[in-house]
């Protein structure tokens, strides 16, 4: 079954080669004119103030955590979605099962909503 991945492997080698070739080519053939001003930080023409990597809002961190939580749950639904039609022939258990799962997931979602995790001022 792993044989079907061989074209992917070939394509990834080609893609890597292409990306590397483009970036190296421009590096080699482009002109180089040294100028110290050119190497400074771009800040709309003003002398740069402070480092760029300062502390950033905690919001972004919360979004990342919520993504991990929900994305894992979404992955759990995939196998269920594949076999849903086949298993429906053996009764409606598979339906109620996933309804319960989604209800629990949604309860978690409502909790986050109430705690203001989605509020973006």
């Amino acid at each position: 079954m792993l044989l079907q991945y061989i074209p992917i492997l070939v394509l990834s080698v080609i893609a890597l080669g292409f990306a590397a070739a483009v970036l190296i080519l421009t590096h080699v053939i482009s002109p180089k004119v040294k100028d110290p001003v050119k190497l400074t930080v771009y800040e709309s023409g003003l002398p740069p103030q402070m480092e760029a990597r300062l502390r950033y809002p905690i919001r972004f961190f919360v979004v990342a955590m919520m993504f991990i939580l929900f994305d894992v749950e979404v992955i759990f639904i995939y196998p269920w979605a594949v076999v849903y039609q086949q298993f429906l022939a053996y009764g409606s258990f598979i339906f109620w099962e996933m309804l319960l799962f989604i209800a629990v997931l949604f309860a978690g979602y409502l909790y986050l909503y109430k705690r203001g995790a989605f509020k973006w001022e």
């Binding site: 394509l11 970036l23 990597r53 979004v63 989604i102 989605f118 973006w120």
Partner: protein, 344 residues
């Protein structure tokens, strides 16, 4: 051995003769269509109707000075354009652009599948590889050590991971209809009726999410020129700068092809036209590939059309739409689909 040669030919044709030239044409099309919408001419001097303009632009990018600013994290700065280009080129591999053709090459019977790799987990592969694109943006934004780049990188990462959830949820409802993760099976499942009619809500969610995933207007917050100068690619120049746009346009092509495959019947020709006129097998295949190309081209035009028609969202509106509307709608759509399949 023959299989391997066929795979190589397919990769060569799809990547170097279709996708990359199409990207160039898209850049031209974007400028021409925007000119048309804004009632001006656009580039029409280089070659017939400006057809050679993208070639001229590409050459210019190659010969521009490749400035590496002194304050950047050198290693990350140099590999970021590569990291973003790599998954963009890889995603298209599982999209089927035609049925299969069984024919003799020499004396051996060969089945040619019009698809680079026929994976049985095709949909999962796309979700997995497409999400790797975030790394390129984040690393590009972080390594530049520039406030605009940093903000652009942060914004784009938050936006892309937020809209990946609705994207996944919309795909789940399609998978429920077909009962398979193979994209070829999903296309065959739509012979009677296209998924857009069975899954209208899923289609809308997928469309919105794919606009956000490709960083196109109305969701191009990561590169909002008026606020962030250029976003994550502010400090890049020459071909490195172009790589980010190359990746964006390749992602657009993949997104259009995916919308076609998942919701508009892929290479299926509607109204039973093919069955009615009875052509030789080879011609049938060619017409099916043409049908796929036409549908994809329409959605590419749609991407450009929307860009020059709608204004940009504000960042809080974007996040609210993603988390407060799209995620619950996606869950609702799954439940509705489950009920629909159980009843009918």
């Amino acid at each position: 051995m023959l299989e391997a040669i066929l795979a190589l030919i397919k990769i060569g044709v799809v990547v170097f003769l279709v996708i990359l030239p199409l990207v160039m044409m898209l850049i031209l099309a974007e400028r021409r269509v925007s000119a048309f919408i804004q009632n001006r001419l656009g580039p029409n001097r280089v070659g017939w109707q400006g057809m050679m303009q993208p070639v001229a632009d590409g050459l210019k990018f190659l010969f521009k000075e490749d400035v590496i600013p002194g304050h950047v994290d050198r290693f990350l700065y140099l590999i970021a354009p590569g990291i973003i280009l790599f998954p963009a080129l890889l995603t298209f591999a599982v999209v089927p652009f035609g049925d299969q053709l069984t024919t003799y090459i020499g004396h051996t019977l060969v089945t040619i599948r019009f698809q680079i790799a026929d994976l049985n987990v095709g949909v999962l592969y796309i979700v997995a590889v497409a999400s790797l694109g975030v790394y390129g943006l984040v690393i590009g934004g972080y390594s530049s050590n520039n406030k605009y780049s940093m903000l652009g990188g942060l914004r784009s990462s938050a936006q892309m991971i937020s809209y990946e959830l609705p994207l996944g949820l919309a795909i789940i409802s399609v998978v429920m209809m077909s009962g398979s993760l193979r994209l070829q099976d999903i296309v065959v499942d739509q012979y009677e009726i296209w998924n857009v009619f069975r899954q209208p809500l899923g289609f809308i969610i997928f469309l919105v999410a794919s606009f956000a995933e490709t960083n196109r207007l109305p969701f191009d917050l990561p590169e909002a020129e008026q606020e962030l100068v250029g976003g994550y690619h502010t400090e890049y120049s020459s071909m490195k700068f172009a790589s980010f746009f190359l990746a964006e346009y390749i992602n657009m092509i993949t997104a259009s092809a995916l919308i076609t495959t998942l919701f508009f019947g892929g290479w299926h020709v509607p109204f039973g036209i093919l069955e009615a006129i009875n052509l030789p097998v080879l011609w049938e295949q060619i017409i099916q590939i043409l049908a796929f190309s036409l549908k994809t081209l329409f959605f590419l035009f749609f991407f450009i059309w929307v860009r020059w028609t709608l204004p940009r969202f504000r960042y809080d509106q974007l996040m609210n739409l993603g988390w407060k509307s799209m995620v619950p709608l996606g869950l609702l759509n799954i439940v509705l689909t489950a009920i629909g399949i159980a009843v009918f």
